[in-house]
């Protein structure tokens, strides 16, 4: 049976048109883009610049505002470390939202060791940043604020424009991790008002192993990877030319097909949302019901453990993700790897329930039939797991007594 892939928030397949564009840069045009005076280098150099232009266009930036990196994680590291270090004469205070990706969150200790102070901005139960908390926590010596554009675990899109307009005029640099949004929904960095933004092509049918950081002209950034003078001196290292070419093509297709993809995903996502709501009782959606990524549906179900649900869906040919750290970090050395998701904890889901959360993230090639198939198989799995659950048995007893 053909697999049904509903885990596009983890990664997406490379579009065949993107792959075709990449292949010659492994073989025919293998040269080093820095060897610009020889033909072997000139062609890949031009290819990298063409890709940069497409990436810039995708997010409404100038070409010289795009720094190519090896991953969204690297982009987030370059942004936090590079922006904080370049502005450290102005202050040492940094703010992260409570639901940032690990590639932001896990820099906190490192930054503290460098002498910075980190505080966290709360989010409400929908995962939307609490503006009052931001206002309260900003200090005179705050130099950098990081709020992601959309959270891939719960789908919520953050009010980036509002954050930017508050920070504007306060001389605070604003970074936003756009891995969840760039290439997925329309993004215009000038309109949003961010100083830097992470862009990740494997989230929109481009390859892994390549990403970018948008850096607004005039914003100071320190390099954190020293070496050659690639990427305007911000990021040393020979360019991943095939990856960058694929990134560019993926950006071009994302732009050309944006309206169609968004419309399609919103329709499929709504059907999935409504279908789940009407067929499964005691189901709780996570994230914001309206301000969310199209085709992204996340929830937890009472008396159903997330990993077990994910495993059964997988056995039925359906790929999903669980917010359950149980499922994602199981090869960790011990059970300390099983800490509940900080995102779900931040939105007020109790830790023992965090392990029950499931995310379906649809993609451009999913069909209505696939959504219907999921809605057809999931009630049986839920019933099976509830029948096994001692919690459900005692809940039912209480309910029967009550009636």
């Amino acid at each position: 049976m053909k697999r049904i892939y509903f885990d596009h928030a983890s990664t997406t397949p490379v579009d065949s048109r993107v792959l075709d564009a990449m292949l010659p840069y492994f073989t025919d045009y293998f040269g080093n883009p820095s060897s610009i005076l020889i033909e072997e280098g000139g062609i890949p150099h031009k290819a990298v610049e063409d890709a940069r232009e497409k990436i810039a266009r995708l997010v409404g930036a100038q070409m010289n505002e795009i720094i190519l990196t090896s991953s969204a994680t690297e982009s987030n590291n370059l942004a936090i470390k590079g922006l904080a270090l370049a502005n450290k004469d102005k202050g040492k205070h940094i703010l992260f939202s409570d639901i940032e990706h690990f590639s932001i969150m896990n820099q906190a200790d490192f930054m503290r060791n460098l002498g910075f102070e980190i505080d966290f901005i709360r989010v409400d139960n929908y995962g939307v940043i609490d503006m009052d908390d931001l206002v309260k926590k900003v200090r005179k010596d705050t130099v950098l604020v990081s709020v992601m554009h959309a959270n891939l675990e719960i789908g919520t899109i953050e009010p980036i424009k509002e954050v930017a307009s508050f920070l504007k005029g306060r001389d605070i640099v604003f970074h936003s991790d756009g891995a969840g949004t760039c290439g997925r929904i329309p993004v215009d960095v000038k309109d949003l008002g961010v100083d830097s933004m992470t862009i990740s092509p494997h989230q929109f049918y481009g390859p892994k192993g390549v990403a970018a950081l948008y850096l607004k002209n005039g914003v100071r950034l320190s390099s954190i990877m020293q070496g050659g003078l690639q990427e305007m001196g911000y990021r040393a290292g020979t360019e991943n030319v095939p990856g960058i070419v694929g990134f560019g093509e993926a950006a071009r297709f994302a732009m050309e097909e944006m309206d169609e993809r968004v419309h399609r995903l919103a329709t499929l996502g709504k059907r999935l949302w409504d279908g789940l709501e009407s067929t499964i009782d005691y189901l709780h959606f996570t994230g914001h019901p309206k301000k969310r990524l199209p085709g992204h549906v996340s929830f937890w179900i009472e008396f159903v453990e997330g990993e077990s649900l994910l495993l059964w869906l997988n056995l039925n040919g359906i790929a999903s993700a669980s917010g359950s750290a149980c499922a994602s970090n199981m090869m960790a050395v011990d059970e300390t790897g099983l800490k509940a998701s900080h995102v779900l904890t931040a939105v007020g889901v109790p830790p023992e329930i965090c392990h029950g959360s499931i995310t379906f993230s649809l993609g451009k090639d999913n069909t209505p039939e696939e959504v219907e198939h999921l809605l057809y198989v999931i009630p049986g799995i839920v019933k099976r797991l509830r029948d096994m659950s001692p919690l459900y048995a005692s809940f039912k007893q209480r309910e029967d007594r009550h009636n």
């Binding site: 453990e305 990993e307 077990s308 011990d334 059970e335 099983l338 800490k339 029950g356 001692p390």
Partner: protein
């Protein structure tokens, strides 16, 4: 299908043995792991110090369900003293090993068994 779980774990996850409740159980043990929210409940039917029937209900991950199921298989027909010797390592081994972060699931199964036997002894007086 490649994955972190052994074929044995997946077999017990998909086809759990002795799943259910015993209404007139002689001993019932319920334990929970607050770090991951798993809850395991074990029911024992005991005659002449021998476990003649055993059932379980578990809310938990694949490893928790498989550990419960395997535990019931390993103790059915055993005397109480024999059952008390069952260690979590023996459960994990019988399952063909568990991923490191999931070893606590076999501990939970051992704890549920001990709690059920304790309950039986308390009831017996």
């Amino acid at each position: 299908m490649p994955g972190p779980y052994s074929d044995k774990v997946m077999d017990h996850f998909m086809n759990p043995r002795n799943m259910g409740e015993i209404e007139d159980a002689d001993g019932v043990g319920e334990v929970g792991n607050p770090s991951c929210g798993d809850v395991m409940k074990l029911y024992l039917k005991i005659q002449d110090d021998k476990i003649v029937d055993v059932k379980f209900k578990t809310f938990g991950c694949g490893a928790a369900i498989a550990s419960s199921s395997m535990t019931t298989e390993l103790i059915k027909g055993k005397t109480i003293d024999e059952a008390l010797k069952l260690s979590n390592q023996a459960v994990a081994e019988a399952l063909g090993g568990l991923p490191p972060a999931k070893e606590h699931c076999s501990v939970l199964a051992e704890d549920a068994l001990k709690a059920a036997i304790e309950d039986y002894r308390k009831k017996k007086g």
